[in-house]
Amino acid sequence: MEAIAFYTFAILTTVMFLITVLTNHALYALSALAAGMIFISAFFFMLGADFLGAIQIIVYTGAVMALYAFGMMFFDTTRTVVESRTSPQIIFGLSGVAALTIVAIFVAPIISGNITALYPAIDGVGNSQMVGMVLFTKYLIPFEVAAIMLLVAMIAGIVLAGKKMDQSLTLMKDEVECETKEKENV
């Protein structure tokens, strides 16, 4: 049962991400990425990390993807994305070498032998409760820092994207041009 689920989702995720990477349509890419994210959350549920799976769906599919979707509203998404290609040999060669090396490291015998759990899961305690216990005791400061970071990122996003939101984007080629237009408007 587990094996069937694993292989199904593995194939689905891989295909989705491949579409994301290889397609020429921005909309396809976005949709495939969102689908891939959701399929990944399935692995989290399989691994017993229920909370993480929920977060994955909420944050990625809910927030990040929505953000991307809004971002894409600036551009013409129906148009095929034209990209100048670099030689695929280099790309796939490098990727293949990287993959082989990582896999080789992962299957090396010494990896699995000598690892002991730092914060072992306690039997009979649910995953969400467990996460809460560890996160708010051992990782409190990183958690707070991450919160501040998110805040900063939010402000930055608003400031960067939000400036001169009221002005025509297509006519706005240049900062200097904008300023002259502004003066004309006034």
Binding site: I90, A98, T101, I105, A108, I110
Partner: protein
């Protein structure tokens, strides 16, 4: 007295620096007057010191400051004025003051007027350091200083290739000798533990003779270079490319006699090694004869005088080598006066003849240049050693020394040379001032030099006449306080008179013969000139050609080989390093094209490399792999 010492020493360098301030600007008469005046001050200070020493004063010994103090080596900036150095100081300051004043006229139209005085005064300073230093190292500094100034002054007209060549020749020849001298100084320090004169000489009698011989020989090789003794003599004749006042001051009166001064200064050393002394005397006699023969046939006025200088230096070395140091120093002094006078006279002639140097193209100048004629004749008479001029007292004394010391071969050689000296001196005088007029056809109308130049020469003329007569006794009494006091008297009165009168007659006969042969119309004897002997002498025994052929060319070939080696190995290595960096920069600057995509690709490559390294270390550490590798014998 110390104030006078410092004045005498430092006045010339002040003058030099003052003139150097104007070095790059146009001719400024101040640049000539101030150094001359400062030299006169230096002369006055030297005179004061001389009077003090003559009056029986203690030697003046000062230490300005410590120069080096490392371990056992202690060298101060120490200066000493004793009987020997005060004599040298008087000679140097007198001649250089005269030459400075003279040069104001001589260099009148020269573009490098200011530069000339800067060099000339710097030379005088170096010479003063040389003679006043109380240790070998200070002497060496002065020694090198005069070498540098000599180089700058020989090559003064640097646009002339011959001048620069001669300057370099002089400099390089002196370097060869200076190396030996430096070795000599090292030997002195090594064996005596000091390079202060008095300490070093005090320690010498206890040393082994072979060590002392080595010291003496090496120091003498240094003296040979500076005093242009055979076989390092060729530079002196070529050095005549410099301005004539330079020849008068440096290459006749002062610098070239530094070698004699060194031997005189090191008399306690040479007294201990009479064999080396004899060698010095023999070489001196040989050079005296050798140079005189070359002067017989030369057709270049200044070169003739240069060879005569060489010959007289030979005389001085004979005296010094035989232990008659005071005689050597005395001849040095007398020679400085009349030889400088002779050179300055030659300078007047050169000016009048528009830099013509061949006396065969002159003739009959006595009418237009009366005073120069008188001065040069006086100087030549003094050089020839006719009573009662300076040369008689000093040169005949050397003859007597060699006779009294029973070196009859030396005596014969020197006697013959005296005849040759008289002959070539008056050949020159006769060719220039007498005979038929050979210059008007070349469109030259000679005129006498400026009056003040002639007045400047006057003190030298007077000294050339009276130096021997008046100075001999007080000088003897003074210097023998520090130099070995040996009176050279031929005990048999008959022998003495026969010798003196015989020498005089021989010299006078030579003079008369020279006048007879050259004072009338000059007949060129083709047969003699094509003869082997004449050619040998005219080509300076083919020694310059020999040096050219065997040393210069060999060295050049070696240098070219080394140059190729340098280009192909050293330069290629350096260039290679540069090329590697340039090449890699060129090859990799595409990486920095600013394109994010390219950067990302490089980032991935970096990741892969790091991963590969991680993998390599992982497998390297895992036991299974270690076993496998050790089984294969790789580790």
């Amino acid at each position: 007295m110390e104030l006078y010492l410092y004045t005498a020493l430092f006045a010339p360098i002040v003058g030099s620096l003052f003139a150097a301030l104007f070095g790059m600007s146009k001719k400024n008469i101040i640049a000539g007057l101030v150094p001359s005046a400062l030299l006169f001050v230096s002369w006055l200070a030297s005179l004061k010191l001389l009077i003090y020493i003559l009056g029986g004063g203690e030697e003046v010994h000062v230490e300005l400051m410590t120069w080096m103090a490392t371990g056992d080596l202690y060298v101060p900036y120490g200066f000493i004025v004793d009987q020997v150095s005060v004599t040298m100081m008087m000679v140097v300051t007198t001649v250089s003051t005269v030459v400075h004043v003279y040069s104001i006229g001589y260099m009148d139209h020269d573009k490098g007027f200011n530069r000339f005085f800067a060099w000339l005064s710097a030379f005088v300073f170096s010479m003063m350091v040389l003679v006043m230093s109380d240790n070998f190292l200070g002497l060496f500094i002065g020694w090198e200083g005069v070498g540098v100034c000599s180089w700058g002054l020989i090559g003064f007209w640097y646009h002339k290739e011959t001048a620069t060549w001669a300057a370099n020749e002089a400099f390089i020849m002196n370097r060869i000798a200076d190396l030996a001298m430096l070795i000599g100084i090292f030997l002195v320090y090594w064996n005596t533990g000091s390079i202060q004169y008095h300490e070093a000489f005090a320690a010498m009698p206890a040393l082994d003779t072979s060590v002392l011989t080595a010291m003496g020989i090496f120091l003498f090789i240094g003296a040979m270079g500076k005093s242009a003794q055979f076989p390092l003599h060729t530079w002196l004749a070529d050095a005549m490319e410099g301005p004539t006042p330079v020849s008068a001051l440096i290459h006749a009166a002062t610098m070239v006699t530094a070698g004699v001064y060194l031997v005189v200064r090191a008399n306690p050393l040479y007294d201990l090694i009479p064999d080396v002394g004899l060698f010095i005397a023999s070489l001196g006699a040989f050079v005296a004869m050798f140079a005189a023969t070359m002067a017989l046939v030369n057709r270049d006025m200044k070169r003739i005088i240069a060879y005569s200088t060489l010959s007289q230096l030979g005389y001085m070395f004979v005296a010094a080598g035989l232990g008659a140091y005071w005689v050597a120093l005395f001849h040095l002094m007398a020679h400085a006066f009349f030889k400088a006078l002779l050179f300055l006279g030659a300078g007047n002639v050169m000016h009048a003849m528009h830099d013509e140097l061949d006396p065969f193209k002159m003739g009959d100048l006595k009418t237009s240049m009366k005073w120069t004629w008188i001065f040069m004749t006086l100087a030549s008479v003094a050089l020839a050693g006719i009573y009662p001029l300076a040369g008689f007292f000093s040169k005949d004394l050397i003859l007597e020394v060699s006779f009294v010391e029973h070196h009859y071969i030396l005596y014969t050689v020197l006697l013959l040379t005296a005849g040759l000296t008289a002959f070539y001196s008056f050949r020159l005088v006769a060719l220039i001032f007498h005979g038929d007029d050979r210059h008007t056809e070349n469109g030259v109308h000679p005129h006498e030099a400026y009056n003040f130049m002639l007045y400047a020469m006057l003190p030298l003329a007077i000294l050339a006449v009276v130096a021997g007569m008046i100075f001999k006794t007080p000088y003897y009494e003074m210097v023998t306080q520090v130099l070995p006091a040996v009176e050279y008297h031929i005990h048999n009165h008959t022998t003495f008179w026969i010798m003196t009168i015989g020498t005089q007659l021989f010299v006078i006969a030579s003079i008369v013969y020279a006048y007879k042969k050259y004072a009338k119309a000059v007949k060129v004897d083709k047969k003699v000139e094509s003869g082997l002997l004449y050619q040998l002498l005219y080509n300076q025994y083919f020694i310059p050609q020999f040096y050219e052929e065997y040393f210069t060319k060999t060295y050049r070939e070696l240098s070219e080989m080394m140059w190729k080696l340098d280009m192909k190995v050293v330069d290629a290595t350096v260039d290679g390093v540069a090329n590697v960096f340039h090449g890699t920069g060129k090859a990799t600057h595409e990486m920095q094209n600013g394109n994010l995509s390219t950067m990302l690709r490089w980032m991935v490559i970096g990741t892969v490399v790091l991963l590969a390294l991680a993998a390599a270390f992982t497998f390297g550490q895992s036991e299974g792999v270690v076993k496998m590798l050790s089984g294969l014998g790789a580790i």
